[in-house]
């Protein structure tokens, strides 16, 4: 009976953590808003601005004109495998999901995970969607205990036709877990 109680508790613990994964902390640099496009004059049709991994901004469609003609900062995302117990960070799989949050006048319509590195080296067993795509969902072999997965996040921002003037904020979410 005692053994059965202990075994039931253990199975419950493994079952919960195994199904949902364990969330990992995510940070982005720069911490300030990025990428920001500055002042944009809009046109009668929607427009798309692409920001590449170097921060170069290019209008890929539409008639909007970006008044601020300098480059911008592209976020670098860092996911740290900080699970101290067991060997999850050594033998597990890190899953990273990037999605756009709903906004009004401008929104992110495409992401790319660029330059994916695990502890500054090449990641093993990379699979899934790394873009360009409206959302990203990819996995890599865990980089090791206390080590990080990093990548830059080029994206495309779409501005609606003749939106209301003023500030427009476009948001994205990054979640990460390890199994």
């Amino acid at each position: 009976m005692k053994a059965r109680v202990f075994g039931l508790l253990a199975a419950l613990t493994v079952g919960v953590s195994g199904a949902a994964g364990q969330a990992l902390p995510v940070s982005a640099s720069p911490s300030a808003e990025a990428p920001s496009l500055g002042k944009v004059m809009t046109g009668p049709s929607s427009s798309v601005f692409a920001i590449n991994a170097s921060g170069v901004v290019t209008r890929t469609s539409g008639t909007a004109v970006r008044i601020t003609n300098t480059g911008t900062s592209v976020p670098t995302v860092t996911v740290t495998c900080n699970i101290q117990t067991g060997n999850t960070c050594a033998n597990g799989t890190v899953r990273i999901v990037v999605t756009a949050a709903s906004t009004s006048r401008a929104s992110i319509t495409s992401f790319t995970a660029s330059g994916i590195k695990c502890d500054t080296g090449t990641c093993q067993s990379l699979s899934g969607t790394t873009g360009p795509a409206p959302s990203l969902d990819f996995s890599v072999r865990a980089p090791g205990k206390g080590k990080a997965v990093t990548f830059t996040l080029p994206m495309e921002v779409t501005i609606g036709a003749t939106p209301t003037t003023g500030n427009a904020v476009y948001r994205y979410n990054v979640t990460a877990s390890v199994n």
Binding site: K2, L9, T13, L37, M41, I83, V157, T165, N173
Partner: protein, 180 residues
């Protein structure tokens, strides 16, 4: 079964598992949210209203090259050096209406010189008056007013050769504007 029935060893095992669960929970982190920003502004539109008009004028044979200057402010004024000013034709600055985002600064770009539509006389030394910001000759920066518009008034100087007969002279300085 109740907890009172667990042996000390089993209780210790349960505590270890509970601690592991707490540790797992502590490792959790909320999703990271990032954002970028842009500022949507109205396009600048430019409406050319009227030419830079020097009115009627002429020069004599014996006084060399003359000049006539039109100043756009505070009220249009016309002055002459070695030239004679006549009546019967209006004079005044070139007028351009600029519409855009209220409060935004914009830059006015003018050519260094143009030719009059009559006789091809040289016109230059432009002066710029913004109805919102006043004399902006030095800075070249105007501002869209609260009503979403500004008027740019451009004055200038025409160089008139000797023995130019009485005539009306106009010029059309091409104006380019862009947001600052």
């Amino acid at each position: 079964m109740t907890r009172a029935h667990l042996s000390p060893a089993l209780r210790a095992g349960a505590l270890v598992l509970a601690a592991a669960l707490v540790s797992t929970s502590a490792a959790s982190a909320p999703p990271k949210q990032g954002s970028g920003r842009l500022t949507v502004v109205l396009p600048l539109t430019v409406t050319y209203v009227g030419d830079l008009a020097f009115g009627r004028l002429h020069t004599d044979a014996g006084h060399g090259t003359g000049t006539v200057t039109v100043k756009p402010w505070p009220i249009p004024a016309r002055t002459a050096v070695n030239a004679h000013l006549g009546n019967g034709a209006p004079f005044g600055p070139a007028l351009t209406t600029v519409r855009g985002e209220p409060g935004r600064l914009y830059r006015v770009i003018l050519p260094t010189g143009v030719k009059t539509e009559q006789g091809g006389l040289s016109v230059g030394a432009f002066t710029i008056w913004s109805d919102v910001r006043g004399d902006v000759t030095a800075s070249g920066v105007g501002q869209i007013g609260p009503d979403g518009k500004d008027t740019i008034r451009v004055g200038g100087t025409v160089t008139v050769p000797p023995k130019t007969k009485v005539q009306t002279f106009n010029a059309e300085p091409a104006i380019t504007v862009s947001y600052e």
